[in-house]
């Protein structure tokens, strides 16, 4: 009887666990079921916290739902069940089911707090970039190197996303997740972002880096990430705080390069911007 009642739940748990253990980088929609592990130590730590709390909930869920389903199946009037109307409380049981959750929560809170402490440890950063959100795009400012540019939704997607454009978004690669000028950062480096905003609140988020921070006008928020040395490549994210009409259309793209490639890029860009700035300030000609 118990086994019969539990069977569907066990099956459900099996299927869910299958779903949740799918590869992190599958691109087709049906497989995107779980949080990705990401490419930084912090993002992996967050992922494991997420999985831990998820499984805690699954286990508690199985226990609680089993009891409920068991009752629903067994204690039916139609089956001649007679209610035990004297069963109105039981101090021992009540203490147990208060204490067990307390223990579970404490066990959860400790690693979570540890991760928080790490996240907030901003010491020893090697590169600082100021990020300014505006309606609707991002400005990146390499503070130590004088490199500075704007980053906005890439043109083709911008045309396709207009109401009634008639363009099928599926024909556009990385629809809504591509920009004209990506942020370029070195791998294996503790990069600090100083995040602020020019007009309303925005939020800077690249899921693979595991961190999200609000960009608040008039205040500077700090956030850092350190992409694994071997995880160079393109990472995408979006603004995640409602910021008006085009909130959906201010993506974030980060181009993570090896340290050498990054230095080359930085020098070249700094040079190019200096030259462009001499006759007319082209790079800052954004109509804000």
């Amino acid at each position: 009887m118990i086994r019969k009642a539990l069977a569907p739940i066990a099956a459900l748990a099996a299927v869910t666990s299958l779903f949740f253990s799918q590869g992190a980088h599958a691109e087709s929609g049906w497989h995107l079921l779980n949080m990705r592990q990401g490419v930084t130590a912090i993002s992996r730590e967050i992922y494991s916290l997420h999985m831990l709390i998820f499984w805690v909930c699954v286990v508690i869920g199985i226990v609680v739902f089993s009891v409920m389903i068991w009752s629903i199946v067994t204690f039916r009037k139609s089956k001649g069940a007679v209610p035990d109307t004297t069963m109105v409380h039981n101090t021992k049981v009540e203490i147990i089911w208060t204490a067990i959750p307390v223990a579970i929560l404490v066990a959860m809170a400790v690693p979570a707090a540890k991760t928080l402490v790490q996240i907030e440890d901003t010491r020893n950063t090697e590169l600082t970039i100021k990020v300014t959100g505006f309606q609707w795009g991002w400005q990146y400012d390499y503070l130590e190197n004088g490199v500075r540019f704007f980053s906005r939704l890439e043109r083709k997607a911008d045309a396709a996303r207009q109401l009634g454009s008639g363009v099928d978004p599926n024909t556009i690669p990385n629809y809504l997740l591509d920009v004209d000028n990506p942020l370029v950062v070195p791998a294996g480096t503790k990069v600090r972002l100083l995040i602020t905003a020019a007009d309303v609140i925005h939020a800077w988020w690249v899921p693979d880096f595991g961190m999200k921070k609000d960009a608040i006008p008039g205040f500077v928020n700090e956030m850092w990430f350190n992409v694994d040395e071997d995880k160079t490549g393109i990472y995408r994210g979006q603004c995640t705080e409602l910021c008006g009409r085009d909130h959906a259309f201010m993506p974030i793209v980060v181009d993570v390069r090896s340290k050498e490639d990054f230095q080359t890029w930085l020098k070249a860009t700094a040079e190019a911007q200096k030259q462009a700035a001499a006759p007319q300030p082209a790079a800052t000609a954004h109509a804000g």
Binding site: K130, T196, G218, F219, V220, N221
Partner: protein, 296 residues
């Protein structure tokens, strides 16, 4: 007086049959709000407030008039009286929470936001990247020196001038209203009328002095509603308080008139007590203001 007309049986809880005042009140509020909306959206001039204000006054006069009338006819037993009392208590509690929001804003701005803008704590980059040279002090109109005089400066009202006098006035008025209450309970009508009159006169005096203070703030100190966070918290807190004092003083006046008409008995005088509680509440809020806005 209540007992002389007793008609309903004593243990039956009075439920009015039907009443037009609630719907009048809803329409009044709606009209008032539409007036405010029209004004703020510049759909019309300030006259758009008039219909709403008129309706609200009409509603209050009519509704309270009805209630007073029913009371005079002895329809309310002590049970009903208790409902009124509890209702008033919880209403005052809601008012306390309204002020709490603004006090919260004051504490947050003063102890967190302004220091952060000055680069303290987790926000050290504020002073490096955004607000260079801003030093977190209180009072302040912020790193942008918003509002104030032409040059962005402003002065504040010292606690131990007019505000201290106003504190004395309100504390005294709390005392007088308590004396009036005791007099009412002992049936000493002369003391009652005199001290109640003193109470609302002190209330109006407070409002007058507060207005005086506002004028000085605006014309001489550069302290305006728009003078940064100091001006914002100062005027919103003292302004809402002043509004409550005005309302309270008006209510006291009405109660005084009702006393003159002989409306209350030593045992039954809910309206008097409600207004007295309200007055004490306004007084306590003022103490908070005096300490946290003017003094510290």
């Amino acid at each position: 007086m209540a007992n002389t007309h007793a008609s309903a049986d004593a243990d039956k809880y009075y439920v009015p049959h039907s009443s037009q005042w609630p719907i009048v009140g809803s329409i009044a509020l709606f009209t008032l709000m539409m007036g405010a909306i029209s004004y703020l959206n510049e759909w019309g001039g300030s006259w758009v407030f008039l219909p709403g204000v008129a309706l609200v006054i009409f509603m209050f006069v009519g509704w309270f008039g009805t209630v007073i009338g029913e009371n005079q006819r002895g329809l309310y037993n002590l049970h009903v009286d208790r409902s009124f009392r509890m209702g008033m208590m919880w209403f005052i509690f809601s008012e306390v929470m309204f002020f709490a929001a603004f006090f919260g804003a004051l504490f947050y701005a003063r102890n967190l936001a302004v220091p952060w803008l000055g680069g303290q704590g987790v926000k050290i980059f504020n002073s490096i990247e955004l607000w260079k040279g801003f030093e977190a002090t209180w009072p302040t109109s912020g790193p942008g020196h918003v509002g104030g005089r032409e040059d962005g400066s402003f002065d504040v009202i010292p606690a131990f001038g007019l505000p201290a006098i106003n504190t004395a006035i309100l504390l005294t008025s709390s005392l007088t209203v308590t004396i009036a209450h005791h007099a009412l309970r002992q049936g000493k009508r002369n003391i009652l009328t005199a001290f109640l009159a003193a109470t609302f006169l002190l209330g109006f005096l407070f409002v007058y002095l507060q207005a005086h203070e506002y004028i000085e703030a605006y014309t001489e100190l550069g302290l305006k509603l728009s003078t940064g966070i100091y001006g914002s918290t100062f005027f919103m807190l003292t302004g809402f308080h002043g509004l409550h004092v005005t309302i309270g003083a008006i209510m006291l006046t009405i109660i005084w008139l009702r006393v003159l008409k002989g409306h209350f008995t030593p045992q039954r005088h809910f309206a008097f007590e409600a207004v007295a509680w309200y007055w004490h509440f306004v007084d306590v809020v003022w103490l908070g203001l005096f300490i946290f806005v003017y003094w510290i």
